[in-house]
């Protein structure tokens, strides 16, 4: 590591620092995005399915390769099964913040979270 430090020039450090800050800011911005309200499934501009995030459901999405199973529960969405070879979409885990996405590229499924969850959307009724 010390050798690496000696080999780097001031210019290197500047470039690395700038890129690092850009990435860091991006990460922070994503982590602080508001909790989403709904999800939209679509490919390009065509929307094939939408749902509210607070409704529990499991839905099958059709794609060129087959059926990708999407599950919504606890205000988050995740892919349960998909016919793609590498199952990356499943490994993307659960998403709930606005702007997040799940994508199965081979099966052409793109799930994105939009909107801002309103306060109290978890409750059907709130009484005082």
């Amino acid at each position: 590591m010390k050798k690496l430090w000696r080999d780097m020039s001031r210019g290197d450090c500047s470039v690395i620092l700038v890129l690092f800050l850009i990435a860091l800011i991006g990460l922070f911005w994503q982590a602080n995005a508001p909790t989403g309200a709904r999800l939209i499934v679509g490919d390009g501009d065509q929307v094939s399915f939408t749902a509210e995030l607070h409704q529990e459901q499991t839905v099958d999405l059709e794609g060129p390769l087959g059926v990708t199973r999407l599950n919504i529960s606890d205000g988050a969405a995740r892919i349960l099964a998909s016919p793609c070879p590498r199952k990356i979409c499943i490994s993307m885990g659960s998403v709930q913040r606005s702007g997040e996405l799940l994508a199965c590229v081979p099966n052409r499924i793109l799930v994105r979270i939009e909107g801002v969850a309103e306060e109290g959307v978890d409750y059907d009724l709130l009484s005082r």
């Binding site: 080999d7 020039s9 210019g11 990435a23 800011i25 390009g44 702007g99 996405l101 793109l110």
Partner: protein
Amino acid sequence: MTCSAAKEQQLEQARRHVFLALLIAVAISIHTVESLLPTPLPWLRLGLANSVAVVALYLYGPRAAWSVNLARVGLGALLLGRLFSPGFWLALAGCLVATSLMVGLHRRFPDWLTPIGVSVAGAAGHAFGQLLAARLLLVSHDAIWQVLPALLMFSLGAGIVTGWVALRVLREIRRHPLFRQLSKAEADDQTGEQALQ
């Protein structure tokens, strides 16, 4: 027996051709092996073949770097059976952005940056270019940019590693008498600097 300057030039040209071919071969080999290694995500690799292009850039100039990188993407894809596949277009786009960035930065700041900085810029450019191609060809929605911050972080690390490799290789290579830098690009640079002074 006399050795004229012209002969030396010819020899250097021939040497340049041969070594460029060798560099391209090395880059393609590295690229192929890297592509065959298992990765958690596809297309997420160290990009070690890019360090060969950085070496070529520093030794022989921008056109050499372009040759190495374009050949690496094209022939590498051909050998792996991925020519004109989606992954190929992503790699090509990333390579175009990366190489332009590296060449431009090296030309503009030849002393301020080391191969490490150039390589980091290349890695970041590659990530950006790939995402741009993915946005245009595969995903058709701006949501793809969500992966940019994480990908950028990764490419920073990868760029530092490959840049350091390029730096060490350059250091060792330059010691060899065959690389006494009589190449045309260096000569042009030197005359250019003298003209400015």
